[in-house]
């Protein structure tokens, strides 16, 4: 079971959290103006990253807050968690 560092509550076990898919997917400001292709991208197309991936989590059985995390999908290690609306922090090149 992963340990996830909620930006509001601190480290907690994975079973308190719900995964929320890829982070930083922005709903088009004017959906009516979005082309079918734009809308397809927004609705369905997600990255399948091998390596550092920005993803959403919700501390569903805790504070209830959504936040973002950088997780290395090859090691399951979290490199950072940060609040929704914030830009992802830089990942050190010499990370473990």
């Amino acid at each position: 079971m992963l340990i996830i560092d909620c930006p509001y509550c601190g480290p907690r076990p994975e079973l308190e959290f719900a995964h929320g898919g890829q982070a930083h997917v922005v709903r088009p400001a004017d959906p009516a103006a979005a082309s079918d292709d734009d809308w397809l991208q927004y609705l369905y197309l997600r990255d399948n990253t091998r390596g550092v991936f920005a993803e959403r989590w919700r501390h569903a059985r805790g504070c209830g807050r959504f936040f973002n995390a950088l997780r290395d999908t090859t090691t399951d290690q979290f490199l950072a968690t940060y609040r929704a609306g914030e830009q992802p922090p830089a990942v050190p090149r010499d990370r473990p």
């Binding site: 992963l2 959906p31 009516a32 079918d36 919700r58 569903a60 209830g64 959504f66 090691t75 609306g85």
Partner: protein
Amino acid sequence: MSRFRTTRGGRIDRSRPVRFRFDGRDYEGFAGDTLAAALLASGVHLLGRSFKYHRPRGILAAGAEEPNALVTVVRDAARRTPNLRATQIEVYEGLVAESQNRWPSLALDVGAVNGLFAAFLPAGFYNKTFMWPRSAWHALYEPRIRAAAGLGVAPGLPDPDRYAQRYAHCDVLVVGAGPAGLAAAAGAASAGARVILCDEQHEFGGSLLAERGATIDAMAAADWIVAQHAALASNPRVTLLPRTTAFGYFPHNNVGLCERITDHLARPPAALPRERLWQVRAREVIFATGAIERPLVFPGNDRPGVMLASAARSYLNRYGVQVGSRAVVLAGSDAAYAAALDLAAGGVAIALIADVREPGRAQGPAATAARDAGLAVETSMTALGTSGRRRVSGVHLGRVGNDGSIRPAASLRCDVLLMSGGYTPSVHLHSQSRGKLEFDAAFGAFVPGTAAERTRCAGGVRATHTLGAALEDGAAAGVAAALAATGHAAAAHRYAARLPEARLEGTPGALPQPAGAVPPAKAFVDFQNDVTTRDLALARREGFESIEHIKRYTTTGMATDQGKTSGLNALGFVAAESERRIPEVGLTTYRMPYTPVTFGSFAGVARGELFDPLRKTPSHDWVVAQGGVFEDVGQWKRTRYFPLGGESLRAAVDRECLAVRQHVGMFDASTLGKIEVVGRDAATFLNRLYVNNWSTLAPGRARYGILLRDDGFVYDDGVVARLAEDRFHVTTTTGGAARVFGMMEDYIQTEWTDLSVWITSTTEQWAVIALQGPRARDVLAGLVSGVDLSPAALPHMAVAHGRICGVPMMLFRVSFSGELGFEINVPADYGAETWAAIHAAGQAHRITPYGTEAMHVLRAEKGYIIVGQDTDGTMTPDDAGVAWAIGKAKSDFVGKRGLARAALRRPDRKQLVGLATVDPGVVLEEGAQVVATPGQAVPLQMIGHVTSSYHSPVLGRSIALAAIVGGRARTGQTLYVPMPGADIPVQVTPPVFYDRDGARLNA
């Protein structure tokens, strides 16, 4: 005194004899014995029959790696634990154990069984059998194979024992309390770390428990263990867990431990759980898991009495048991010499040490010591076969010439054949943690490489050669882990250890056999799964090259063995056969559990009523008293129907439905999801989220709301009431409550952060009693105050606040039955009393409580959809016939852009319609397919499916809702529902069957 028990020595308590029973015969052992040790002391070597071939099997090992000696321990009818390793069962007074898989009987000659079944069971027989005629497989082969092949039988009664679970945190978790683990725990504790030390055995010491003559810091090893244990036990920051197996590693240093608490006790105290599951979260983990001796692979190596050399040494030194009178020792590593020396000193005749290595490689210190002690040693030997029936009686040796040729050398009599193929580090947990493994060619095994998590390995698992090296490695790991976990440094203790060095390296694979000759017997690689060299060779001939494929095809290394004794030999054999190096053949994944874990320990207290949280509605106890029938809806217990006087489901539902249509019914609707949406921007928020236009909804009024996902498909629905300008009471489906709340939070927190709005789940705050039927107002009139119930003051879809029986009430005039209806919301704590009061007051109006079954019929008669039943996640509001709810003027809402996609606007989408069977007595199956023409050949052209189907008592006929391609345009057409035997003709109708103009609703 048992015949093979020595007169003194060992760690058993000779002052405490215990009597036990194995396969109906009584035996005696001592406290401190394992079942295997006590049976060997009585000369019992035959303990079971093998999985596939039913060959007699004995005891191979002395620990967790035992693949053969699996037994069932029986306490009573409900307490039968199968597949326990006799080498790990502590004997107690009155222990009852049984052999397994002894069909036709434990002692029957092997030949008959082998001949009978060998043809059935080549490698991959599981796969091949699927090519047999299916009927024959089910009727003939499968039952027979299942009866014949297998391990122990699971108990048939519920488990009466208790199992506890515990979470624990520590700085350093040390797995394994051998010399390295004890040194690691001491090192970490010396730096002030909080330490948990666990070991699967009942006493700490690991390999030291089987040593004679070892000293550490000038103490005999046994005394050192006592001193080390005492020091750790007195440290309040150290938790010691004997009889505790670390069975699995989970991400981020989460390690599963299973502590066996009462299995070794003759009379387990009722207050104690049988086992305790520990979920340990450690900052740092040290795997001091040691190494396991490998068998040698040669024909007939599975006969009872063929045993690991280290096991024989363990039985002698630790348990005071001679495993035989006359031993031949097959040495593939120096460890065999150490065993031979101890056994010779312990009174066992050593007929020969047959070293399977070349002379140059048989020169270690132990080999020299054995020669000096006068033991006969031959090198460049191989084993060609064994003799004996239920116990080995002799071994046929061959000599390998310089050119690789093999000629018979000698046949020696023996009653025990010891073997050592070298040691395999127990890298299971390290590998489960995704740590890398490296092949140590000199040692002949995989050793731990880079760690993937905050773990490190110490001692024998790293192929340390000497006791001193293991201690040093453990101490260093302990202080390093403590420093990493706590930042506190300590100096590693320098141990002064003395123990004759025995080099543990070996060469995995099979012993050489004469070229071209057919071996006289099977050479087993995996004893537990009955996998032989022939099976592995066959798998290769059939094209399997990857070890992962070979593993699955032959089942080698599967089940409880997990490759402990077999894995590396299988790899070595396949590598030799394919002329590759072992690391090129690859390595299969180590799976948890290391040794089997009971289901009970995983379940803990989550059994019966505590299996899942149970949610009860306010009317629950009342319904129980009335004999109502419940159904599970998620975690909720909802009343399905109220049978009266032995009524059938159909009779009860018909009566309940008619009561609502003719008089009045009451229904517990408390499970409906309820969310209060509050704030300056509450209306804006709901406008953006729901399809409806909420700006035009006045306070005190309610509206049917539809929620889509952004792809345009219906996600949830429910009545939404505006309580004030800035306050909405949103209801959701019972099953959708949590996910709708999560979706709202998602949009509030991440998408529309500009809005000032808060949401609160109020599902459990309100008890909701639906009162439906033409007399509903009459029932209510005598109970409520502060509310004008007249149609003018409280029309359909109006909300009012008042009191009922003096209790604060929020009253909705809503209907999910099509009748005049109210939903009475009171604080949940008043729900039961309010329910009873309404029921009592309703007696004068023939009030009838009804359940979910009647509720479904009533709403279907009106064509009201149930999201998730009549919709399936691919239906738009138009498909479901509720597009009227969409606020047409809104520029955006969740799902609006999705609905504009071309595919969602096609006229040939499935639309919800009504179906009326031509025969009114026929009730369609929900989920049945619909076709346009009867008598079609397979594959049928399916144009839709039935989503809801009931008998309607008020209409006196069946009704159904169905999703049909272009359904609304087919109104009046006859379609067909193909069922076994007949195509049922149905007519397409509008989805509303009763009171189409809604006169009753607005009464």
